[in-house]
């Protein structure tokens, strides 16, 4: 079925409205659908929030091809780069998913169902030899999974080269969060924990600092392997496009920023059970307090943040998922650097 309708390009409106319009146009008011479009490179990309909806509208010249699939029989693998060129008859695939026997795809849920587990941040303000990594710890089921030790590193000081004590990553737990991100490695020197320099602090102090910050841990390391560093050649790559949500949240995909904020708050908020036995998150006393979310069970908090969690064995798929969500990041940067620095690898 094809429908053709027009939108005002200057005022695209919200995704919700657009979604409603689509359902209305196709007369499927109660059917969950996935919306996709083809961009200028011929890739089939999803539309599921305001940002990528606006992006899609802005790329239409003048026609925007939009694909709609039922959510139940959606072919998630249809999305991604080169999808349109690789599968010439993507349309038939999409519309008749049960047409021919295919290898069953591993279903990856949509980006809004993901949450970030780690990110490289502040790329534009750190020296190239350093890397600031943010690890997000949800719930309690997955270990942060690394060990630190004392060691010594060489620093350039006014008196020449000097050996100074330092803290190093000594081991990564297989299957742990730290290992699964690929951003931390054994023998990386830890320089800062959540913005606080570790120099002069003992191993136990640094351990306690990391554990106290474990729900939202930002560690700055000097990677032992300096070959994978980002080579920033120009202002364009060092511009806001490269940095991610924590430094310039406005330029980042909305889903991620949203989910992030939500997480940060739940980190701050303790749970209170009043005498009626119903646990609640403790709101902030400040006047700008968020609407408090009533949870029926304490565990619910964990559950709500854990859906869509995938085992780490599907790393390669996650990478491609990651590049989907980042689709309108710096266009001129090559694919490799996208994977290695700016991307938010979602699990």
């Amino acid at each position: 079925e094809f429908r053709r309708f027009s939108l005002e390009r200057s005022k695209p409106g919200k995704f919700e409205e657009f979604y409603g319009l689509l359902q209305h146009v196709h007369k499927i008011p109660n059917v969950d659908v996935l919306v996709g479009y083809t961009d200028i490179h011929g890739d089939l990309l999803p539309i599921n929030n305001d940002d990528n909806y606006h992006k899609a509208v802005s790329t239409a010249n003048p026609l925007l091809r939009i694909f709609i699939q039922r959510k139940e029989d959606a072919d998630y693998s249809a999305f991604g780069t080169d999808t349109m060129t690789r599968k010439k008859n993507v349309l038939s695939n999409v519309l008749r998913a049960d047409n021919h026997k295919k290898k069953p795809h591993i279903v990856i849920s949509m980006p809004q169902d993901f949450r970030p587990v780690s990110s490289i941040i502040d790329v534009d303000i750190l020296p190239e030899t350093h890397r600031r990594v943010r690890l997000y710890k949800y719930g309690t089921d997955k270990p942060l999974g690394f060990y630190i030790r004392d060691g010594s590193s060489v620093r350039v000081t006014p008196h020449g080269l000097e050996k100074v004590p330092g803290i190093f990553i000594s081991r990564l737990v297989p299957g742990g969060l730290a290992q699964s991100t690929g951003l931390l490695a054994v023998n990386d020197e830890v320089l800062e924990v959540n913005g606080i320099e570790v120099s002069g602090k003992s191993l136990d102090q640094v351990t306690d600092m990391m554990i106290a910050n474990s729900r939202n841990l930002i560690i700055t390391v000097r990677p032992a392997n300096q070959r994978n560093n980002v080579v920033r050649n120009s202002r364009t790559s060092g511009s806001s496009g490269q940095s991610t949500e924590s430094s310039l949240p406005s330029s980042t995909p909305n889903i991620l920023a949203n989910s992030l904020q939500g997480e940060e708050e739940s980190d701050e908020e303790d749970i209170i059970i009043e005498d009626n036995g119903e646990p609640q998150q403790i709101p902030k006393a400040a006047p700008t307090s968020e609407s408090l979310e009533s949870l029926t069970q304490m565990e619910l908090l964990h559950e709500s943040t854990q859906n869509g969690f995938l085992p780490s064995s599907e790393m390669n798929l996650n990478h491609s998922a990651g590049s989907i969500s980042m689709e309108y990041e710096v266009q001129d940067a090559d694919h490799k650097s996208l994977e290695e620095d700016g991307t938010i690898i979602t699990l």
Binding site: P143, N194, D204, Q205, A212, R215, P283, K284
Partner: protein, 960 residues
């Protein structure tokens, strides 16, 4: 720019902070750890104690204290006061001599090190040539005679420590003076003792270790007399008139020698082995004190029969037919005799025997019949049973203070009433501003009440909880019950007794209400005793209740110790604090928190399993709450037994030894291709070494989860009258914080006073807060509408505190090991927080509200939090805004027991253990400072001052 405008750098506030806060370590209370030397000046009436860590401490009248520390931190071997001077010389085990003096400086005396000196022999001489064994400060105050291992006696000038080589008395010179037959077979060996003639300062007595004793004339450099002892010499003592001296020997004998002008080689007058005829241990030091009535006091250390009593640490006093061997609880370091007679008097008339043992100071009154002990006003052995907890109560009402003192005085009837004999110096410190009590709980089930108001930490009263329980040891077992004809006549003295009959008796938590005199004490086996102060002896039954903290949990087995058995029927209690209620927690785990509300007559207690509330008016358990996490196995099964783990580690170490023996035997066995094996071994060792180097200490980074063990451990309990349910009505409440970061709040309904006995106390859970960072909750506090902490129970009733503001909104402060957080009440919403661990990696160990007064203006004071972290830092944090005010490094972070023992007072002071037996007192406040301030003046020196030198300090014993 923002950095410079931070509120913390407000100059007005900074100035105020300087008026409020100041960190000082003021005084050390208790008994010095590992004492190694003792000295006494009969001229100054001051005693000096040296320790193995190089500290030197001077004590005089109560409150007169000085402390010095040798830079080298070496063991102090000997201490000698310079006669008639405010000076003393110390000898360290590195053979260095140090001259210390007391100088007056702005109204108070100070102990300062003036000079140091190491004796150097001629080039090429062995080190033993200058190894000092005996020191004699000459009564001329100009020279020191130093006896050495080589037998030579060196002379150094004071205070310059210039060696007068022309006056050195070499052993060769001495031997030349002696007739051939007396010196043929023995070389002089080392100098054991040096004593100045009591009447003639030109003569000194030299005792060599092989038994030769020579009286040497300093003027003519010649030996006037010589005495040939047959036994190894230990020490010498002149009789007061100079006509005789006594020598003591390694075979347990002492010998009296006459000194007369007609015989230059006299025979002994008398030689005796007091505890013979079987072989005896050495007598290492002896005093022969003359008295007006003619019978001398002979006082000596050691000499016990080797086989049966060789392990005793004894000092024997013989006076006529009376003879007592005082049996000390630990090794005797040294002793001296005090006497009150004038220096020029004909007789010594000893008044007291002062003995420094390794673990305590014992003073025996020699004037009173029966020779009772004197209770020292300082140098208390805090560790007579190991300290398990401490509790400080500031500003005790006079009434309670007097009642405690009177209870204590009834316990101390066996002590002598003699005034303290060591009374030099004058205490010029202002009187302590208030009466403070420090309560220490001990492993043997006792609680000791110390007067902590001033410089002298003084025992007021000792409370024992043992009587309530049935223990293996019979409390009536008297160690001193020896028969009349017992030989040797041993008598146990001292209080040091580190052996606990039953570790379950140990005291873990103490809470004293200073207004009502109610005391709650909780121990290792889950026992909680509530006591009341009674001025009379009484015999009554202790009510007994059991609190099953595992009520709703099934199928758990406690593998720890059993609960204590209680005594049936009435128990007799002496005047003082008498228990009337005993609550025993089930399982009998260590009580980890305790709170008492004397106004509501409620006691709350918590263990690693949960907590309970007890109404001690109606003697009824109000409720219990289990805080246990179902997966917490460790808490359920109880602590690992220390005995078991020791056994295990012993077994392991034996195995290791055996293994290494086997492997070394193997190596030796295969001798055929030895080089090959060796090579392989070397390689193996190297590999092992490398492996060791490659595996340094590492720490796992792991978020705390709800499943961590001991999450149910109740860390803190707190009573508050606050707005728990709604903002219009306040009610009594109980708050409990656990190791897993949970805060439980219970709303209490306490019936009014007139119906207090008729209606039950009711409690229902009102709130439960789970801190998301799950760190242990170490403190809970409610701030009133003005941001001031709620007063203690009964404080308002006694007009000692403003009543709290019940109009404004209350706030709840929860202190976890990692964060301080303020919540609003009654609707719990977070308002403020201060993260400590996330920023600095330190954790909160102790926290208290302290009141800080300004040193500039009398009427300004503020409440702040004093926080001790695991790094040993003390931080002062403002209330209610939680701003870090100041930080002081206080305790070394490696000193875990010091940090664990720290206790803060309500007025910005604190105590922590620097050794098992010593509290360091510190002050954070500019206003409340308790430190010694005293003057030691030199009395007028008399012309015939040489007589002084023959007292305790003149002895020159070389201790082994």
């Amino acid at each position: 720019m923002r950095r410079f405008l931070r509120p913390g750098h407000d100059p007005v506030r900074e100035r105020l902070k300087r008026d409020l806060f100041q960190f000082n370590k003021t005084v050390e209370h208790g008994f010095p750890h590992q004492p190694s030397a003792l000295g006494y000046s009969p001229f100054l009436h001051l005693m000096a104690i040296g320790t193995r860590s190089g500290a030197i401490k001077l004590y005089g009248a109560p409150g007169v204290e000085f402390m010095g520390l040798h830079e080298e931190n070496n063991t102090v071997m000997q201490i000698h006061f310079i006669p008639d001077q405010c000076q003393l010389v110390t000898l360290l085990d590195d053979n260095s001599l140090h001259l210390w003096s007391l100088r007056q400086h702005s109204g108070a005396s100070e102990l300062r090190e003036e000079h140091r000196f190491t004796l150097k022999g001629p080039p090429g001489s062995p080190p033993s040539a200058t190894q000092i064994t005996a020191v004699l400060p000459h009564s001329s105050r100009e020279v020191l005679y130093l006896g050495t291992e080589s037998g030579s006696i060196f002379v150094v000038e004071l205070p310059s420590f210039r060696v007068r080589e022309d006056r050195t008395i070499t052993s060769e010179a001495v031997l030349q003076q002696l007739p051939e037959d007396s010196c043929n077979r023995r070389s002089c060996e080392l100098v054991e003792a040096l004593q100045e003639h009591p009447k003639n300062p030109d003569q000194i007595l030299i005792g060599y270790s092989r038994g030769l004793i020579v009286l040497w004339d300093l003027q003519n450099s010649k030996a006037t007399h010589h005495f040939l002892g047959s036994q190894q010499l230990e020490n010498l003592y002149w009789q007061r008139d100079g006509s005789k001296f006594v020598s003591c020997h390694s075979d347990g004998s002492y010998t009296q020698w006459p000194v007369s002008s007609d015989n230059r080689q006299p025979e002994p007058l008398e030689s005796l082995v007091p505890y013979g005829p079987f072989p005896c241990k050495a007598i290492s030091k002896i005093y022969w004190q003359t008295t007006r009535n003619g019978l001398p006091y002979i006082i000596f250390q050691g000499g016990m029969p080797r086989a049966s009593y060789g392990d005793r640490h004894s000092i024997t006093v013989i006076h006529g037919s009376q003879q007592t061997a005082f049996d000390f609880t630990s090794r005797v370091i040294d002793f001296f005799i005090t006497f009150s007679s004038e220096p020029a008097a004909e007789f010594e008339d000893p008044s007291a025997l002062v003995v420094l043992a390794e673990e305590e100071l014992v003073v025996i009154d020699l004037r009173t019949a029966g020779w009772p002990a004197v209770q020292p006003p300082y140098l208390a052995s805090l560790h007579c049973s190991a300290i398990t907890c401490s509790h400080h109560v500031s500003n005790i009402p006079l009434k309670l203070w007097e009642r405690i003192i009177s209870a204590g005085s009834k316990q101390n009837v066996q002590y002598s009433r003699m005034p303290w004999p060591i009374n030099g110096g004058t205490n010029v410190a202002p009187d302590p501003p208030q009466r403070d009590l420090l309560l220490t709980g001990h492993e043997d089930g006792t609680v000791r009440f110390w007067d902590a108001s001033g410089v002298c930490l003084h025992l007021l009263y000792k409370l024992s909880t043992v009587r309530v329980f049935l223990t293996d040891a019979d409390p009536n077992d008297n160690m001193n019950a020896l028969g009349e004809d017992e030989w040797p006549p041993l008598r146990k003295v001292g209080t040091f007794d580190p052996y606990s009959d039953d570790p379950r008796l140990g005291i873990q938590k103490i809470y004293l209400c200073k207004y009502s005199g109610y005391l709650a004490v909780a121990g290792t086996a889950g026992q909680v005793l509530v006591m009341e102060l009674n001025d009379e002896d009484a015999e009554h039954v202790v009510d007994h209740a059991e609190a099953d903290l595992l009520q709703d949990q099934e199928g758990y087995r406690w593998k720890g110790h059993e609960k204590l058995k209680t005594r049936d029927g009435p128990v007799r209690f002496e005047a003082g604090f008498q228990p009337f209620v005993l609550i025993q927690c089930q399982p009998p785990a260590v009580v980890t928190s305790l709170a008492l509300h004397s106004e509501w007559k409620l006691a709350a207690f918590g263990t690693s399993h949960g907590f309970g509330l007890f109404d001690h008016q109606q003697k009824r358990l109000v409720f219990v709450k289990c805080t246990l996490h179902p997966s917490d196995q460790l808490a359920l099964e109880g602590p690992l037994s220390r005995v078991k783990s020791l056994k295990k580690s012993l077994r392991q170490s034996f195995r290791r030894i055996r293994r290494s023996r086997v492997s070394s035997r193997k190596r030796r066995g295969v001798s055929g291709n030895a080089s090959e094996v060796q090579e392989a071994n070397a390689k193996f060792d190297q590999d092992a070494l490398q492996e060791m180097e490659l595996a340094p200490v590492q720490r796992k980074i792991e978020a705390r989860s709800a499943e961590d063990s001991f999450t149910g451990f109740v860390r803190t309990l707190y009573f508050a009258d606050t707005f728990l349910r709604d903002s219009s009505r306040h009610c009594p409440s109980l708050w409990a914080g656990t190791n897993g970061g949970t805060v439980h709040a219970f709303c209490l309904r306490v019936p009014p006073a007139e119906r207090r006995m008729d209606e039950p106390v009711r409690a229902e859970q009102a709130k439960e807060i789970q801190l998301m960072h799950r760190a242990p909750v170490v403190g809970i506090l409610v701030l009133d509408g003005r941001g001031t902490p709620l007063p203690e129970p009964l404080e308002v009733a006694h007009d000692l505190s403003k009543s709290p503001d019940m109009q404004g909104s209350h706030q709840l402060l929860v202190v976890s090991e990692e964060q301080l957080k303020v919540f609003t009440l009654p609707k719990v919403s977070s308002k403020l927080k201060l993260k400590l661990t996330a920023l600095e990696g330190c954790r909160v160990r102790k926290v208290t509200v302290a009141n800080f007064g300004s040193c500039k203006t009398d009427d300004y004071s503020e409440n702040n939090l004093a926080v001790l972290t695991n790094l040993g830092d003390i931080q002062i944090i403002s209330l209610p805004l939680l701003k870090l005010q100041i930080r002081y490094p206080c305790i070394r972070k490696e000193d875990v027991s010091g940090i664990a023992s720290c206790v803060f007072t309500k007025y910005g002071q604190g105590f922590y253990l620097i050794s098992p037996s010593e509290f360091e007192r510190f002050s954070l406040s500019t206003k409340w400072l308790v430190e010694p301030r005293c003057v030691v003046g030199a009395p007028e020196a008399t012309s015939n001052n040489h007589v002084h030198s023959k007292s305790g300090l003149g002895s020159a014993a070389r201790r082994s």
